[in-house]
Structures are given as C-alpha cells and as structure tokens.
C-alpha cells in the first residue's frame, strides 16, 4: 500500500473518494447538516452573533492601550488595524477550526467503530474530509449573513480594498488553512491508535495554538522578544511553525502586513506544512490500522 507521498495523488484520491463514495451521499450529508443547523434556529442565530462578542471587549481594550501610549502603531498595527485584524481572524478560524474532529476520531478508535472503515472500500480520511467540506459549506451559507452584517457595520476600521493579487493570496491562504487545520486535527486524532487519553495531547495542542496562532494578538507583536539565538526574535521562530496559519497569516495578508517575498515565503511554508501533515496523517492511518488489526480490534 503506497503511503501517498505525492500530495497531488492524495488530493486526487480525495476527489475520487468524493466521487465514488457517492456524490449523492455527500449531497445528503449536506442537506442533513443544513437541516440540523436550522432546527436549532434560536441557538444558531444567537450563537453566531455571540462569537463576535469577545471582539467587542478587545476593541475597547486596545483603544485604551493606544490611548495611554504616544505611539501611532504597535508592531505596525494601528488601533483600527488591530480591530480589522481580529475580525479577519474570525474569518480564518471559520476555515481552519475543526470542532470535534480529533476527539471524534479518538473516540471512534476507542469504541471500535473505526473498524468499519477498515473493511469497507471507503477511505476514512476521504470520508472525514467530505463530511467536513459539507459541514463547512453549510456553516458558511448560514453564517454569511451575520458575518456580512458585522463586517459592514465595522467597515470603518478596514483600510482600502487590497489589490487583486493580495486578495488572491488571501483566498489561497484560506484554502490552505482549511487543509492544514483538517490534517493537523486528523493526525492528532489518529494518535488514539497509540495513546488512550488523547485529550491531554489535544489540550496541549489547543493551548499552544491559542498562544501562537495569532488568535489573541498579531504575531508581529512578538518581534521585539528575543530568543536565545542571535538575530532571531520570537516572531521569526513562530513564522516557521504551522500554528500561525490557522488565524494570523491570512489576516496579515489581507491587511498588507506581509508582502512580496515574505508573502511568497509564507504561502510556501503553509503549503509545505499541509503536505507534511497530510503525509503524517496518512502514515498514522497506515501504521495505526496495522497495529489495530494486529490486536484483533
């Protein structure tokens, strides 16, 4: 069994998986997700809007921070920039966050329901991928209204529209962040083949992500913090790690904080991490299922 070293081959397989496991099945998944969303209608509308509430507090906080200092910008961000930044990270996280993915996989490994994917001619990872795509599409379809409303309301904080190339790069980075988030969480979940309580690892992952993804503050702010190595700040180190792509990077692209060669490098690093995690996930599945089958499941 090939380990799927060629990313294109992998995506080809995913697409094939979508086609064979039935476009109709996928469509049904889509419809069911949509219905599910609409049933909890009260929860849903309020829930989506509530996600923006913490930003309100952040806005006030940063305004107060700027008020007390004479600087015009912090790490290259003006106050308006920071607000725009937070809003944009909401968009990125709408792409990269995979709620319940790793814990769901760990659980199905623990209770044995993963077995059916070992016997059936359906690729587990492709199946999960298709399911997530369906979920996300549905989520975007219904969340677009509150999101658009909030963004329109806050349009004053945003700088002018970036040039088309930047928008293109933004879109590319969003797509890559979806893939990256997906593969990272799947790989985490697959650790369940070896470790019983994956939750502790997931917790550690989420903590690191919280700090280094740019969720709380733009990574540029770490530029002033030295590490042991000469000439490198904490921000430089973080820029090689995959975490920043789940919140910070696309937002920074849109706001023009990352440009030219840096932008190209960032996209390349992001793509590289996607490949690495995709391979890791494939490996984990391959080795894990072998081990699983050896135990008699």
């Amino acid at each position: 069994m090939s380990v799927g070293l060629e990313p294109l081959g992998l995506f080809g397989r995913l697409a094939a998986g979508l086609r064979t496991s039935g476009l109709r099945t996928w469509w049904t998944m889509l419809v069911i997700s949509l219905e599910e969303r609409l049933v909890y209608r009260g929860d849903f509308i309020i829930g989506t809007l509530m996600r923006f509430l913490p930003i309100v507090t952040q806005v006030f906080l940063w305004t107060a921070v700027f008020a007390a200092t004479s600087r015009a910008d912090i790490a290259g961000y003006s106050r308006n920039d920071i607000i725009a930044y937070y809003l944009l990270t909401m968009v990125t996280r709408a792409f990269s966050s995979m709620p319940g993915l790793s814990s769901g996989i760990a659980r199905s490994i623990r209770d044995g329901s993963v077995k059916k994917y070992l016997v059936q001619p359906v690729d587990y990872v492709s199946f999960l991928f298709a399911a997530r795509v369906a979920h996300k599409l549905v989520y975007y379809a219904v969340a677009i209204i509150p999101f658009a409303a909030v963004f329109w309301f806050c349009r004053g904080y945003f700088p002018a529209w970036p040039p088309p190339a930047t928008i293109g790069a933004f879109a590319a980075s969003l797509g890559l962040s979806f893939l990256l988030g997906f593969f990272m969480e799947v790989t985490l979940g697959m650790l369940g083949f070896w470790i019983l309580e994956v939750s502790s690892i997931v917790f550690a992952y989420m903590l690191v992500q919280y700090l280094l993804s740019g969720h709380m503050f733009p990574i540029d702010m770490l530029a002033g913090i030295p590490t042991g190595l000469p000439g490198t700040s904490l921000a430089d180190v973080v820029s090689w790690l995959p975490f920043q792509f789940t919140a910070y990077f696309p937002a920074a692209v849109w706001l023009g904080k990352v440009q030219g060669p840096e932008l190209a490098r960032g996209l390349a690093v992001e793509a590289a991490w996607v490949v690495v995690m995709a391979v890791a996930c494939r490996l984990a599945w391959w080795r894990g299922t072998r081990r699983y089958a050896a135990y008699g499941g």
Binding site: M50, T57, A64, V65, A68, L211, M216, M221
Partner: protein
C-alpha cells in the same frame, strides 16, 4: 440553617472523594485551567511591553492591573468551583427529567440545583491568583490602608454573589426553555465583559455599555470595585461604590431567586 450546611458538607465530601478517585483526571483539570490562565497572563505581559497603562490616566499600570487580574482569578475560581459545575449539569437534568427528582424532595430546589457539585480543581486558579495578588501588591507604589483588608473580602463575596445571581437567572431561562444548549456559552460571553477595568468602556458606545453593565447587569462591579480599593485611595466616590456593590449583591440574589421560583412553577418536565 444547620441542616443545609451539613448537606452541603456531604455534597462537598462526595465530590472530593470522587476527584481523589480519579486523581489523574483531577490533576489534568488543574493543569488545564492553569494553562489557559498562563496564556492570558503572557498576553497581558506582552501588552505592557507597548504601553505603560491601560487607558490614559486611569491608574491601571502594570502592578495595579495585575492586582485586578488576580482579583478576577480569585472571584471566578470560587464561582467555577462552587456553583458552575452544578449549573452545567442543570441543562442535562432538565433534558433527562432529573429535575423531577429534585422537585419532590423536601429541600430548597435552588439550593440543590446550584450547589450539589463542587469542582475542586477550579480552586487552583484562585490559589495562583492569591500569589499574583501578593506579588503585585508588594511591587505597587501605593499601599492600601488597613481598612481595605476588611472591605476587600466583603467585596469579593459580593462579587461572587452577583455572579451567582447571574448564573441563577440563566438557569431559570434553561428551565423555562426546556433546552438551552448555549447556556454555558452565554455565561462566558457575558463574563467576558467584566475581565478588564471598567475604564476601557469609553466613548459613544462604551459609555452606555458601561452603564448597562454597572446598573442593569452589574457585572462590572464584580472585579472592579474590590480591585480599585487595592489600587486607589478610598475617596468618597469609592465608598459609594462599595455601598452600591453591597446593595447590588443583595438585590441581585433576591431578584434572581424570585425569577428562579417563578421558573419552577412553570416547569414543564420532559415527556414520560
């Protein structure tokens, strides 16, 4: 009443026994809450790299601000240890009909529903908070007068009472609506507004928000008032704030109780 205290003791003891039985889990939970807290502290330290003060002329420089944060940790850890676990379970109880068994017991339902579970791991944050408080006070220029050591604990209790009342109101909403999954989310989203000094809410939008969160849903009183007694001299205005907080706490507990009792009479009970 003595009976209620003894029953509370039984609940606490039972929870402690259970936590000690699943020790690894308990430790993990302690680490989890300490982890999140550390991330936030790191963030605040980062912010103070760029500014000397939160808000111009507010007095919330680094040490007072950390005293503020520490106060928040203490108060929230008390609420999260004593009351929140039971509130979380309330949604489940309403859904499965477990609330029925509570209503037939000759014991105050609100008491049972808000205090039957204690989460000892949440105290970890509070302990760290006390440590931070000590350090911050040590480094601060200003030394609070001795009377503050009497007022501060009282205000902490008032803060806990106000948060408790808010929780009871949300619980009443859960009972009325039959199933409210976002009850728990509501809690953290609302509490989020009280995490920072009230002075940050300024301007055309901030002003009304600050008023709303001070006089209508008094969450801004919870951490601000006790923290300010540590960081600022006790002027006349400060005493008014203290008195106002005590009144608000009493009123909040009373109002929330009324609402809760009303919700119980309208209880629908899950289908058989």
């Amino acid at each position: 009443m003595h009976r209620y205290l003894s029953i509370l003791g039984t609940f606490a003891r039972a929870c402690l026994v259970r936590d000690m039985t699943f020790r690894a889990n308990f430790l993990l939970e302690c680490l989890t809450s300490l982890g999140w807290m550390s991330m936030n502290l790191a963030f605040y330290l980062l912010v103070f790299q760029f500014t000397p003060e939160i808000g111009r002329g507010t007095g919330w420089t680094r040490e007072p601000f950390f005293a503020f944060v520490a106060t928040g940790l203490v108060i929230n850890s008390i609420v999260q240890a004593l009351f929140l676990p039971s509130a979380e379970e309330l949604t489940e109880m309403v859904r499965t009909g477990g609330l029925d068994t509570v209503l037939v017991k000759p014991l105050d339902a609100q008491f049972l529903l808000s205090m039957h579970r204690v989460d000892f791991s949440s105290f970890a944050n509070g302990i760290v908070g006390l440590v931070i408080l000590t350090v911050a006070l040590g480094r601060m220029d200003y030394t609070p007068p001795p009377v503050v050591w009497l007022i501060y604990p009282l205000l902490v209790v008032c803060g806990v009472a106000i948060l408790y009342s808010l929780m009871i109101m949300l619980a009443a909403a859960t009972i009325l609506m039959g199933r409210n999954q976002s009850l728990y989310d509501f809690w953290f989203y609302i509490i989020n507004f009280s995490r920072y000094p009230a002075e940050i809410y300024a301007g055309p939008w901030g002003g009304p928000l600050r008023a709303l969160c001070t006089f209508v849903i008094p969450i801004l009183l919870v951490i601000n008032v006790p923290a300010r007694t540590l960081a600022r001299p006790l002027t006349g205005a400060a005493w008014w704030a203290v008195a106002g907080t005590v009144v608000a706490a009493v009123a909040a507990v009373a109002v929330s109780r009324l609402v809760f009792q009303a919700a119980l009479t309208k209880y629908r009970s899950a289908s058989s």
